[in-house]
Symmetry: C2
Subunit: 356 residues, 2 copies
Amino acid sequence: MRAKNKAVGDQIQNGGEVNQTVSLKELARHLNLSPTTLSLVLNDAPASVSIPQETKDRIHRAAREFNYRPNFLARSLRAQRTFTVGVLVPELSDGYSAMVLGGIEDFLIQENYFYLVASHRHDDVLLEQYRRLLCERRVEGLIAVDTLCGGKDSPLPVVTVSGHAGAKEVTNVALDHTRAAIVAIEHLKTLGHTRIAFIKGQDFSSDTEVRFAAIRHAMKSFDLRIDEKLVAQLEGNSPSPELGYVATRKLLATKHNFTALFAFNDVSATGAIRALQEAGKNVPEDVSVIGFDDVYSAAFQNPPLTTVRQPLREMGKLAAETLLKRLSAGRDTESPRLLTVQPELIVRESTATCSS
Amino acid sequence: MRAKNKAVGDQIQNGGEVNQTVSLKELARHLNLSPTTLSLVLNDAPASVSIPQETKDRIHRAAREFNYRPNFLARSLRAQRTFTVGVLVPELSDGYSAMVLGGIEDFLIQENYFYLVASHRHDDVLLEQYRRLLCERRVEGLIAVDTLCGGKDSPLPVVTVSGHAGAKEVTNVALDHTRAAIVAIEHLKTLGHTRIAFIKGQDFSSDTEVRFAAIRHAMKSFDLRIDEKLVAQLEGNSPSPELGYVATRKLLATKHNFTALFAFNDVSATGAIRALQEAGKNVPEDVSVIGFDDVYSAAFQNPPLTTVRQPLREMGKLAAETLLKRLSAGRDTESPRLLTVQPELIVRESTATCSS
DNA sequence: AGCCTTTACTAAATCGTTTTACTAGATTGG
DNA sequence: CCAATCTAGTAAAACGATTTAGTAAAGGCT
């Protein structure tokens, strides 16, 4: 018995620092009890009613003393649960994904989950590879942000944020683009604009198509025409305003006049404003510019950006919440295919009444 | 034997879709071999030399057919390795952390590692709790970004990015602040500025103190004086330009004149410019503004921001690389306590010669 | 024929938990 | 006084791999 105690003691003392880990077995041996008993007591299992308080105290005391931490791997293996979800994003360092991720994290950590992230840069091969790696690591579900992620061959529950609505088993958290287009176009029309230019998103972005369809629809309902020459598109996948800058230069090069520009997001709006100013056009006097997202810096652009706010953080939170709800509900229960959140028009100083 | 095969077959067929998981044992039973043999062959272990090619082929074929994926948990438990590191950041949605995280990810994923993130919002209690949770999940090491993370009581290897140099066992990846201060101040002095205002970072930010000390030193070496009334500090922990805006309003309220402003980062510089313009001061004609970091949007501010570039992505990469190197080196080997990266002055249009 | 190698495998232990099914001894009820 | 119940636990299986230490059969050598 002395010898046994010594074994544990040695390990604890070694190096003069707190030891890395004591296993349940070691702790049990030290207390002359079986691992079963410790497990029962430490997890406060129903079966522990028959264990006298004194023994319980002994166990708790020892656990604290030796800083016992159950091995998460062993536990997960046994319970077949990892309390981990996988998150797929196009790119971490653009504000959009980071914001959504922030919301996801808020919710997950509060529920004692963690997440593994992988960014695929819109490369389908990478995406598929990461999806597999995440499955292999036994994540319990996936959240795909602005990513086309087929739920068909996935045995895991998937929730998308701004994904393609449509895959049968996945829930998609998305903005009400119809409404977003309406508030933006209405704002411009009220200011007297009729010649409006657009910067569409990249093809790989899930929002691009829906949003532009919504814009077409809104334009029609306000009796406005879209001049196809005044539609540019972001190209490349850098999260820099550069792309908006380039797109706007193209618009200017057509020599078709426009008095307002609706950009795909705030970042590209920033680049657009720069291009306009370089071309000698003042914002908003000569051209009104309206962005999308309402990232932190939008309010502090020069001029401060009028934009359609997308509640990104809440969308992330909602996605995480939905995923966990689905996990606990078992795979038979149906869940909604679409959860819509509402945009909000934030009027600042990059839009003004049409002067021409 | 028929019956055995049928068992696996059933599972595979069920639901008409690819089944979630086949274990090694099931696969072995199906092939009438032992799990050992399969493990040896699938991992191409040295002991598999004696297995005839035909058997190997059979095994590989079956593994592919049934889409066998080894259970990562079981493997990790056995090998006592998780190929996972923990990352602690103050806040995900500010550009700084996201950028560093991007670099960390690049390197880790390429090395077949994943990472778990937790953001502590500069709350010491949360930080400690997350550190423990990460340990419990058996991460092999920690990367702390802009976070005071004592390595003393941590049994895990720690690498910090812009952490406090000093903790004995941790490697810190940091900018050469001395050099950064020199290039910035030199630039302003060359432009003729002598009355320079400063916005310091928040107290909780690890960079704040070192950087300001470096600035003091640089100012002295250029024979310039710091007017303590012209030193403001960011307060609060929102990643919005608002904080820089507020700080600048305070500076303006002192009525002490200044012709240049050195902000703690690009985000606060953006807010500062806004405050200056509202006060009727033009940038750079009346006041030159210099930022820090060179985030994506810096080049597209109005005016485009002169700034001290910090290679954040590379810093993340370097941190990850250092951590993995240390992991494979075993805990006896010494590693450097400080890895310094170099800043770069990016001159744009928010600074100009002093006119007054 | 007898011994040694090689070939082609397998049994069992292990990682650290949880859980189910037990048991020995004490107490209680009728 | 005997059976049932309660108390205070424990042994062993399981989760799904990896690894060590075998073994049975075949072939080669003298």
